[in-house]
């Protein structure tokens, strides 16, 4: 194996290598600044390697991994998101006591897990990636926030363990039925009309439960609001973007070859999950007084929109899903970044009431949060508008009338709670607490996200062209 052969795999390996390097460094020298720089450097290097890795793609590594254009796209946005999370973390952790350096190690490990997920082509790698991601997340969630953090961590631990068990059992059933764990082989066996018993749908349903849990699709969403509320803000940012994005990418990889529309019951199950998530997420967000819980429910609804794209499998739907995920990453990271930047030593800024009059105290952060919320609501000039439009276009093309109707209804409901927060930002306030300066790293990350948000919203053609060429090359 030469370096050239290894090149497509490097972006996946670099974060893991960086994590090891940091662990070794921490053994004899603790420095928050150095650790953060190292982590950021590793992620940035992985990100920069992706265009070069694209030249070697698509490339199979045994039966376990396929590094193709789409996988590298997902890996790229995962690395970029992890970089942003690292930038938010520095200022956030610097205000806290205790050992903060291991946070970056866990962040890098979780990122590696996510990247492996997107490139997996076999249930073994799928499971391995998922577990690396999840185990790192247990600690990231419970990191440094006292009782609430522990509660959130334990909740996530218990429910994730259950869902993982369900997923594993599903994998075992499929293996028992077909004798293979490779995605492409499963698809081709099914296409060839291999006789299947009841084990097969049961296995797929169990896998859907596991995936649904990770994406927090209703009715597997019960953990999400509590965990989002209890976790540190940067972890929540990671949880709502990288963790969900990676699982979605893997689900896409697994389900699209299955040609979902031809398997009626499976199709109906995914459609029901999508529709129910859109409606439940938006409706439950209406009455929340905590911005973290609002974002948790909003993210449930957004994953519902995204899951609808699994239902057609057309190239347009795949492109729409990839663009949507990118826009959602930018938006969600931006919103959580603002929350992280506003969090004080004692407790995070989380009640919506805490945001009253923010526009007067902190115009730039308030402006950024406003744009992010408008993007979540799908207003023009932001990425959210274009991405929702692509989603609807793909949905209409695939004649997904019920999911698209739910999407429209959900968006109409969504306006209310997003704009309610915006109204709070611009409400007058008399006794304003003093303003603390945002750390430059977080400020720069939020600024970059805002620029990206507007660029995607105003002129999405170049990014769409890249995505379409990647899909064309992968299929």
């Amino acid at each position: 194996m030469t370096f050239r052969d290894l090149l497509p795999l490097l972006p996946l390996m670099l974060p893991a290598l960086t994590a090891v390097a940091i662990l070794l460094l921490l053994a004899f020298h603790r420095s928050h600044r150095l650790t953060a720089w190292l982590a950021a450097g590793g992620l940035a290097a992985a990100l920069l390697l992706i265009p070069f890795a694209c030249e070697g793609a698509p490339r199979r590594f045994g039966a376990l991994l396929v590094v193709d254009g789409c996988a590298l796209f997902y890996t790229g946005i995962i690395m970029a998101a992890a970089l942003a999370v690292a930038a938010f973390s520095y200022g956030y952790l610097a205000r806290r006591r205790g050992h903060v350096e291991e946070f970056y190690v866990l962040l890098l490990l979780a990122t590696t897990g996510g990247a492996v997920l997107t490139a997996s082509s076999h249930f073994a790698t799928f499971f391995l990636g998922l577990e690396v991601l999840t185990v790192a997340l247990y600690t990231l969630i419970a990191y440094e926030r006292g009782a609430f953090g522990i509660e959130a961590g334990v909740k996530y631990l218990v429910l994730a363990a259950v869902s993982t068990a369900a997923l594993l059992f599903g994998v075992a059933l499929i293996y028992a039925e077909l004798g293979t764990m490779e995605f492409s082989k499963i698809a081709s066996l099914l296409d060839a009309g291999a006789p299947v018993s009841l084990l097969m749908p049961a296995g797929v349903a169990l896998i859907l439960v596991g995936v649904g849990f990770k994406l927090a699709l209703t009715p597997f969403h019960l953990w999400a609001p509590d965990v989002y509320q209890g976790a540190p803000a940067p972890t929540a940012a990671f949880l709502s973007t990288v963790s969900k994005g990676a699982v979605f990418a893997a689900a896409m990889r697994y389900l699209v070859p299955l040609d979902l529309p031809s398997h009626r019951s499976l199709w109906l199950a995914v459609a029901a999950l999508a529709v129910v998530s859109m409606l439940a997420g938006n409706l439950l967000a209406l009455r929340q007084g905590n911005i973290r819980r609002v974002l948790a429910y909003s993210s449930i609804a957004h994953m519902g929109y995204l899951a609808a794209m699994l239902l057609t499998g057309s190239p347009l739907a795949t492109a729409a899903a990839m663009f949507y995920l990118l826009a959602y990453f930018v938006t969600s990271l931006g919103a959580w970044g603002v929350i992280a930047a506003l969090s004080e030593k004692e407790g995070d800024a989380e009640r919506i009431e805490d945001y009253r009059g923010l526009a007067g105290r902190h115009p730039w952060l308030a402006g950024a949060l406003t744009l992010m919320l408008l993007s979540l609501a799908g207003m023009p000039l932001t990425a959210g508008f274009i991405s929702k439009f692509f989603l609807l276009t793909a949905g209409v093309e695939g004649r997904l009338w019920a999911p698209m109707a739910a999407l429209l209804l959900g968006s109409a409901i969504g306006i209310f709670y997003y704009v309610r927060i915006i109204a709070m930002l611009f409400a007058p306030q008399e006794d304003a607490p003093p303003v603390r300066a945002t750390h430059w790293a977080a400020g720069a990350a939020i600024g970059a996200l805002v620029l990206l948000l507007i660029a995607l919203g105003v002129y999405p053609a170049p990014v769409l062209a890249i995505i379409q060429s990647l899909i064309a090359a992968s299929s």
């Binding site: 276009t393 109409a412 306006i415 611009f426 769409l464």
Partner: protein, 489 residues
């Protein structure tokens, strides 16, 4: 490029106003005024110059172009937008005292969105601008009256959700067109070539119609309107009533009738009936209001009913009448809202019951209001007269009963207009109000609006020569030859 400049001017003036607003209160006002004045000059120049079109690629993968096109109908609307834009800046000169920069940013961006709606010649671009104006408009409610936040939210939810229905209709139309021709495009001119057919086309037309009817405030889609008109700041109400209601009517003329000719002709009697109902409902409700702004809001519903009646009558006269009425209503009702705002600024109330006998202390305001009331009831010589007359002539040829109902609405308008003058300026001044009359700025603004109403009322030919050919070219016409007696006006 020149067409894009019409949108870029306010779009650029907005952030500039916001930035300068941090150091100076008057800079944002002057910047916005200059931008809108330039826009107006440009619009007039383009009116003289004639039709024009510009096109750039935007999202070529899906056949979306940044296509702007200006014809006789859009230039009228763009000119009205720029004109009312100038008035809106002037009307908020004294009213807005805090966060002046941010206010003007929102004002400019709303105006940019509205201008874009009138210029866009690509369905997705149209939708883009259609949505673009919502958020800045919502923010304008921040400077509004008592129940501003609820009113703003209601406005946003009504318009946004109806807009989403339209987006769905646009997308289905897009795929239907692609299915028929194999060309994926949102281009208006291309979509015009293949009229939608089949049962689905009816649903599509309703998707468009509902979005436009909500903006016009046609009952039963008007739930947001009275609160929004009442509780927005003066400039906001001016934009809502003077311009946004027109975007709805413009949408009907530009999209619903040309894109769905058969379905629209089938639906026409229903559309006319809705218009007639709006005329009566608005008139009756106006009569029972105790709040001046709310009352004008209901008269606005009534007048937009005339516009709807004229559009769906679909005859050449009635549609020209509808266009003239759109302009006349923009100027006259806009001026009434400015008047209501000026009175509130001085009295601190909008209650009709507490006013009375104000003529003594403010004769210039009284004179203006009297003229506007006359325009409201459609006195000959005002734009409203020409508009309503043409609408009725056209509607009479299609449906005599509905035209009769609409004419009844004109009688109602006489009653509520005179009653309004009576309660505000005549009678005893029970509360001994004393306040300064119109300042020079306000007099000039009022005079400009009165001038427009009179100009269209006395010499409407430029309007009909601009809009007439466009309407004749793109509108489906019901076959009226059987009962057609008179010629073209």
């Amino acid at each position: 490029m020149i067409l894009a400049l019409l949108i870029i001017l306010p779009l650029a003036a907005g952030p500039l106003a916001w930035l300068t607003g941090r150091w100076s209160r008057s800079a944002p006002r002057w910047i916005s005024l200059a931008a809108m004045a330039l826009d107006l000059a440009l619009a007039v120049a383009l009116w003289i110059h004639g039709p024009m079109e510009t096109s750039w690629g935007w999202i070529p993968q899906l056949g979306i172009g940044f296509t702007l096109s200006l014809d006789g109908l859009s230039i009228l609307m763009v000119a009205l937008t720029a004109f009312l834009g100038v008035i809106a800046v002037a009307a908020s000169w004294k009213e807005i005292k805090d966060r002046v920069g941010f206010f003007h940013f929102n004002l400019m961006w709303t105006l940019a969105g509205i201008t874009g709606v009138f210029l866009a010649s690509d369905l997705l671009l149209f939708y883009f601008f259609w949505e673009l104006m919502l958020v800045p408009m919502y923010f304008l409610f921040l400077w509004g009256q008592e129940k501003r936040s609820a009113a703003g939210m209601k406005f946003l939810i009504y318009t946004q959700s109806s807009g989403l229905l339209m987006l769905l209709a646009i997308l289905v139309l897009y795929f239907m067109h692609a299915g028929a021709t194999g060309v994926y495009t949102f281009d208006y001119a291309a979509l015009l070539q293949t009229p939608a057919a089949g049962p689905a086309a009816n649903m599509l037309m309703f998707g468009f119609f509902i979005a436009f009817a909500v903006k016009m405030g046609v009952p039963p889609f008007h739930g947001w309107l009275p609160d929004a008109y009442t509780h927005a700041p003066t400039a906001g109400t001016l934009l809502l009533a003077g311009l946004m209601a027109k975007t709805g009517a413009y949408g009907l003329l530009r999209f619903v009738l040309p894109l769905f000719p058969e379905q629209a002709l089938q639906f026409a009697p229903m559309g006319m009936a809705l218009g007639a109902a709006a005329i009566l409902y608005g008139g009756l409700m106006a009569f029972s209001q105790t709040d001046l702004k709310r009352m004008v809001a209901y008269t606005s519903i009534s007048h937009m009913g005339f516009v709807l009646l004229g559009i769906f009558a679909p005859t050449a006269q009635s549609q020209q009448g509808a266009v003239i009425l759109m302009l006349g209503h923009g100027a006259a009702t806009g001026a009434l809202f400015v008047m209501a705002g000026a009175l509130q600024e001085r009295l601190g109330t909008r209650e009709l019951g507490r006013m009375g006998g104000l003529w003594e202390t403010a004769p210039r305001m009284g004179g203006t209001m009297l003229f506007l009331a006359l325009a409201l009831m459609g006195l000959p010589g005002t734009a409203n007269f020409i508009g309503e007359f043409l609408v009725l002539v056209g509607a009479w040829r299609t449906s005599i009963p509905l035209a009769t109902v609409a004419a009844l609405g004109m009688i109602l308008s006489v009653i509520y207009a005179l009653w309004m003058i009576q309660r505000v300026f005549q009678g005893p001044n029970r509360e001994n109000w004393k306040f300064p009359d119109f300042s020079l700025r306000e007099t000039v603004a009022a005079a400009a609006m009165i001038g427009v109403v009179l100009w269209i009322g006395l010499y409407p030919k430029p309007i009909s020569t601009a809009a007439g050919p466009v309407l004749d070219r793109t509108m489906p016409r019901a076959d009226l030859s059987a009962q057609d007696e008179g010629g073209e006006p």
